[in-house]
Structures are given as structure tokens and as C-alpha cells.
């Protein structure tokens, strides 16, 4: 049942591939604005890289939420799904598809942005450290949590309003812990100190969200169609 639902979501995403790619371009463009706007100096960019990449990723995830929930709500498919499948399965399939077509590409394209933000810059001949895999790991653990939490906000706001900004206002505060630990993973790595604790906390938040949010999202979807 879950696989059927997931397959449908992915098929719809493939038919809507332009809409799916927009958040990815948004991510790349927002990050690439910073060298122009702030300063092209490698040393400086390296310092702000963690924050910039994380904030941009977060906004890109928010931007893409609409696609996976609004359409089904408007054409009545959501009602049919909730009659025929359990709300938790519906919620989980949507979140999984959302992450696969938005979150995962963000993680995969992030090395490009690491280069752009001079993440691996080392001043005059110091031993070069590769921080890119650490950044990808932090995003890999953080983006699914953002998708899971975003799903709650999106489901709650489906019936309430047609304005996507409402979701942003509701959900962004909840993203703060992920943002703090996610970017501090990279900052710690840049400072050559341990980052295992931050990684562990990111993973813990993810597991916690994975267990609890599908239930909440399912309930919220039920409320949205009633």
C-alpha cells in the first residue's frame, strides 16, 4: 500500500518536473548571491558558508512543500486517499516522495555550493581539510526532518488558507533547532573540533520526527478534508 502511494507521488512529481526543479535552482541561486552581495573573499565566505547553505536549504524545502499537498487537496484526491488508505501511510508516502525529489537533490548538489563558498579554503599552504562530506552529512540528516515538520504545517494550513506564507510563519520557528545543530556541525568541522555530538543530535531529532510526525500529519490531513 505504502509503495503504491509512493509510486504515485513520484510519478506525479515526474510529470511536474519543472515545478520540482524550481526549489533546487532556488537553492543554488540564493547561495550564489552571497559572493556577489557580501564579499568574494574566500576567507570570509568560508565563515558564513555553513549558515548560508543551511538557510537556503531550509527555504528551498519550504518552497517545495506546496506541490505535494495542495494539488491533492484541491482535486479531491486527498479525500479518496484517506478513505482507502490509512492517514499515516498517506502522510508518510508524501513526505518520502517530497524528500526524495527535493531534499535528496539538495544534498547532492551541495558540493557545488561548497566550492562556491570556498568551504575548503585553507590559508597559505596549511593542510587542506575536506569539509564537504561533513556538510553533506549534516544536510542528509537535516533535510528529512525539515520535510517531516513541514508536512505538519502544510497539512494544517491546507483548509485554512490559500496562502503558502502561513506555512512558513508556522513552521520556520520549528526549524530553528535543526538549523542550529546543522550549521554548527559545519562550523565545528571548520574549527577542527569534534562534531559527533551535533551529528548525533541531528540524527536523534530526525528519528523522533520520523516516529511522531506522520501520525500528526495524518490527523491534520483528516482535519483538512473534513
Amino acid at each position: 500500500m505504502f509503495l503504491t502511494l509512493l509510486k504515485r507521488e513520484l510519478m506525479l512529481a515526474r510529470r511536474n518536473w519543472v515545478a520540482v526543479l524550481i526549489p533546487l535552482f532556488f537553492f543554488v541561486i540564493v547561495v550564489s548571491l552571497f559572493p556577489f552581495a557580501v564579499s568574494p573573499e574566500a576567507e570570509f565566505l568560508q565563515q558564513i558558508a555553513a549558515g548560508v547553505v543551511w538557510v537556503a536549504a531550509l527555504l528551498a524545502v519550504l518552497l517545495s512543500l506546496d506541490l505535494f499537498y495542495r494539488g491533492d487537496f484541491q482535486d479531491g484526491s486527498l479525500e479518496q486517499l484517506l478513505i482507502m488508505a490509512s492517514p499515516i501511510q498517506v502522510a508518510l508516502s508524501k513526505v518520502t516522495a517530497h524528500w526524495l525529489v527535493t531534499g535528496l537533490p539538495l544534498v547532492l548538489i551541495s558540493p557545488l555550493l561548497a566550492g562556491l563558498m570556498h568551504l575548503n579554503y585553507a590559508p597559505n599552504g596549511a593542510v587542506e581539510m575536506n569539509h564537504t562530506p561533513i556538510m553533506m552529512l549534516s544536510l542528509l540528516l537535516g533535510t528529512p526532518t525539515m520535510c517531516l515538520l513541514g508536512a505538519i504545517g502544510m497539512s494544517l494550513s491546507l483548509a485554512a488558507s490559500r496562502n503558502g506564507m502561513l506555512v512558513a510563519v508556522m513552521i520556520l520557528p520549528l526549524y530553528v533547532p535543526i538549523l542550529i545543530f546543522g550549521s554548527s556541525v559545519i562550523t565545528a568541522s571548520l574549527a577542527n573540533s569534534g562534531y559527533n555530538a551535533q551529528i548525533a543530535i541531528l540524527a536523534a531529532i530526525l528519528l523522533f520526527a520520523l516516529v511522531l510526525t506522520p501520525y500528526t500529519t495524518g490527523k491534520a490531513l483528516k482535519v483538512a478534508v473534513s
Partner: protein, 221 residues
């Protein structure tokens, strides 16, 4: 309350003490209704009298203020109830994805019912409704009437026991109306339960029960 002596061949839907409201306006109060196997029920009433709300409540989408809905003597929300598998609810919105082809749309729903309908089955129903050469087209390419016909195909492709149809006859040509009446009578004959709303009288359709909804209170006729 939930005595499980249901015979496997007969199905019935019972509503006890149902109270529902929309936007804090009560639509039905403490209403008892029953829909027996093999019966066709026509819900009628003015716009806004609560026909759709009642249907959505029956489908388990609208929360009840009080009362309960029993399917074969088991509460519809009970984990042991097969209600959701047995129910086909067709609403105003056709619940079809514009990005998918007709065949994909219909097959997805039949997979959710547990059995993927084959292409032969699809083309057979589609031929009855004169949309057989549109099966590979995207849903968005169709006219309103054709889109409605696609949704009606689900009645044939999915094996269920209860049809809850909101305005199924609207937008249909005479030929398709006859087709739908015949399907409804056939389904009822096999022991299915049909509940539908319609503003017009449907000639040739044998209706077993009429329920009229009015703004203040409901009275079963």
C-alpha cells in the same frame, strides 16, 4: 452493541442518533437512518440542506457531533470494520490527477482496492462509455463530461459493497444516464447499497427509499 451476526452476503448501513453540523450550523439532529442491502436511496433537498455533508459524514470524512454509523453492526471507525474497503465515495470533485492518463488514474485506485484492473477491463468499461480511445490521454485533455465518465468507470472497476454518489447524474448525456441507472440497479440486485443525490428525477431507475433533507430538520419518507 456490536453483535457480530452479520451474514456474509447481506450488508447494511445503519445510522443512529446522527447529529452533524457545518460551520456551527446544525444540519441533522439525532437522526436514525438505515440503508439495506440491495436498496437504492435517493437523497434530495434544496441546495445547502446538507446532502453533501450527510454523504461526507457517511463516508467518514466529516466528523460526527454525536451518533454512530454502523456497517454490518460494526462501527465504521472500528479497526475490524471493513467499511473503508467496502465504500466507494464519488464526490463533486472527481479526484483524478490531471497529470496522469486516464488508465493510470483508474489503475491507481483499483490497486488501492487490492487488485489492479487489467487493460482489457479498462477498455471494456471505457467502450461502454465511449471513451475507449482516450485511455492514454491525460485527464486534463478531456471535456467536463468525459472527465465525469472517467470517474464513473471506477464504479465498475472497483469491487465494493456501498456506493455513496454525490450528484452522479449531473453533466451526463441521456445515454450515460441510462448506463448509470442500469449499473446502479444491477449493483443493488447483487446486494450492494446505493446512496445518491440528485435534483432531477431519474426515469427508469427503481428507487427503494427517498430521504428528503430540509433546512431545519430532516424527515425520512
Amino acid at each position: 452493541m456490536s453483535s457480530k451476526q452479520s451474514e456474509p452476503s447481506s450488508y447494511n448501513l445503519e445510522v443512529k442518533g446522527l447529529t452533524i453540523s457545518r460551520n456551527e450550523q446544525p444540519l441533522l439532529e439525532d437522526t436514525d437512518l438505515s440503508f439495506n442491502a440491495g436498496s437504492i436511496t435517493h437523497l434530495f433537498g434544496e441546495n445547502g440542506a446538507g446532502k453533501t455533508s450527510l454523504m461526507r459524514a457517511l463516508a467518514g470524512l466529516l466528523p460526527l457531533d454525536s451518533g454512530q454509523i454502523l456497517w454490518n453492526q460494526i462501527k465504521n471507525t472500528h479497526p475490524e470494520s471493513n467499511f473503508n474497503q467496502d465504500l466507494l465515495f464519488l464526490a463533486h470533485n472527481l479526484a483524478m490527477k490531471h497529470e496522469l492518463s486516464i488508465a493510470e488514474n483508474l489503475q491507481f485506485y483499483s490497486i488501492l482496492r487490492g487488485r489492479k484492473s487489467s487493460l482489457e477491463e479498462l477498455s471494456k468499461v471505457a467502450a461502454e462509455l465511449q471513451i475507449e480511445n482516450l485511455l492514454e490521454r491525460h485527464f486534463s485533455d478531456l471535456s467536463a463530461g468525459q472527465q465525469h465518465k472517467v470517474a464513473l468507470c471506477r464504479l465498475v472497476l472497483e469491487t465494493v459493497k456501498l456506493w455513496v454518489l454525490d450528484e452522479p447524474f449531473v453533466n451526463l448525456d441521456a445515454k450515460t444516464r441510462d448506463w448509470l441507472s442500469a449499473k446502479m440497479m444491477h449493483f443493488a440486485k447483487e446486494g450492494g447499497v446505493v446512496i445518491f443525490t440528485s435534483h432531477q428525477a431519474i426515469e427508469g431507475l427503481k428507487i427503494h427509499q427517498r430521504i428528503s433533507l430540509s433546512h431545519s430538520e430532516e424527515e425520512a419518507a
